[in-house]
Subunit: 245 residues, 2 copies
DNA sequence: AGGACAAAAAATGAATGCAAAATGACTTCC
DNA sequence: GGAAGTCATTTTGCATTCATTTTTTGTCCT
């Protein structure tokens, strides 16, 4: 195996010489965003070595801004930098995943608690709306729609917490986990799906009553159950074969 | 005002040419550790501009590894990088502090919950020991000892959670807050001090019973009260003058 | 033929150099 | 006298270059 990156034939960046009109940020910032997405979306196989040279060509930049971006990604926990031996996509062990899920659970739990202090009736109504949409997707077995709605609900709760620091941290961890494409698979278990719907109803109920401590508990348990389903799915891969390769 | 850094006469790094036998990590890693400590310990005034050149001379290195370290510190939230205008120590608004305290509260709350699942009797005994030590410091009005014991207790709970990811994240936020030297001041309020002792007893009690959900609540409230005391202290600076300048 | 050693090739880590942007000072004009 | 414009200096951003370390390849010996 020579090139560790799968089909990186197409440069991520346009020529980028200077023609680009939009200049969203400094070069290293742009590179950071691109690289982060690239890694989060799973374009690089787990644990694969990523030669700097190759990334440079791919992005059309020199090594200096690239290395700065790599350092940041390493600090974010997406990749790991072995001294003198380059960057690798961080391989998440099952234990790592468990830990990440638990931290996410803690963050959502906190978000719920804080949200109860600050959320407006309108926001609750909006979340109820998403909940009904989600229920519709559930009934139609529309997994993709279900998960999008689900994600929006959780993000709305985080947003209602009125805490930018929390929001940023949450997004960071969500990115780390997103590499593991658990969602599309573990949700196929019908039983878990029904359970999740019930939990979501309990979440809404606690939210309406602004019962912070209670909501905190429910959210933690909800995420814990998600974690269990995800981990179970990993150890015993598929219960019915997914369509995507 | 020319040099924004106070008494940076002494280079942080020893000669560092090559004589040093110990080589803890790569240069940028070493620089990162040093710079982080330097910032966390508050050696640079809030919002002060930090010319790269000056830091380079101070550390005896070139700009490349320094800039890498700065990017990481920015990602960690300790400094902020304004495009084309250099690095500034991140100025924490009161709102920022509130947010940070709340996230810390959430993390400790999570730590408590997880600790209840995994903590051993020996660890609880060790924490009880620290608790009694802390009580001793409390009785002797030994603020410094009290805070050290207090910090050790909270760190022990985090350690008992058996979650390295949580531990790292916790340490990160602790570092961000540490810049604000609240501890030495707000603790002078006797009433709050007594309250905190009572809360700590409740924490121990819940921990002994492995009552995760309950401990989670107590810890959150405990940190919330800390936050209130810290913020109050900031708005209405000292109730009795501190000895240190 | 298989393994160990050595040299070449490549990749990483750090330093230097160069262009662009910002800061500051000075001049000029109203 | 004050404000705006212009030029010099400083500083940042990125590319290039140099020095080490690692990895690969080729050869030799058992």
């Amino acid at each position: 195996m020579k090139s560790t990156i799968p089909d990186a034939g197409v440069p991520i960046a346009p020529p980028a010489q200077n023609g680009g009109d939009r200049q969203e940020a400094s070069l290293h910032g742009e590179v950071l965003l691109r690289l982060r997405d690239y890694v989060v979306e799973g374009n690089i196989p787990d644990g694969a070595r990523v030669p700097e040279r190759q990334l440079c060509e791919m992005l059309g930049i020199s090594r200096t801004p690239l290395r700065e971006a790599l350092k940041v990604l390493a600090a974010e926990g997406l990749i790991e930098l072995l001294p003198n031996r380059g960057a690798r996509v961080r391989q998440l062990s099952q234990r790592d995943l468990e830990e990440l899920f638990d931290v996410m659970a803690g963050l959502e739990s906190l978000a719920g608690r804080l949200a109860c202090e600050a959320i407006t009736d309108e926001e609750i109504i909006a979340i109820e709306q998403m909940h009904y949409e989600m229920y519709g997707h559930y009934l139609h077995r529309d997994m993709h729609g279900y998960f999008q709605a689900n994600q929006r609900i959780h993000e709305s709760i985080v947003a209602a917490a009125r805490n930018e620091t929390l929001k940023t941290t949450y997004a960071n961890f969500a990115g780390r986990i997103r590499r593991v494409r658990y969602s599309a698979n573990f949700a196929r278990k019908r039983q878990r799906w029904a359970e999740a719907m019930r939990e979501h109803e309990a979440i809404l109920d606690a939210l309406r009553r602004r019962a912070g401590s209670e909501l905190s508990d429910i959210l933690f348990q909800h995420l814990r159950n998600k974690r269990a389903a995800a981990i179970e799915h990993l150890t015993e891969p598929q219960e019915d074969a997914p369509a995507s390769p």
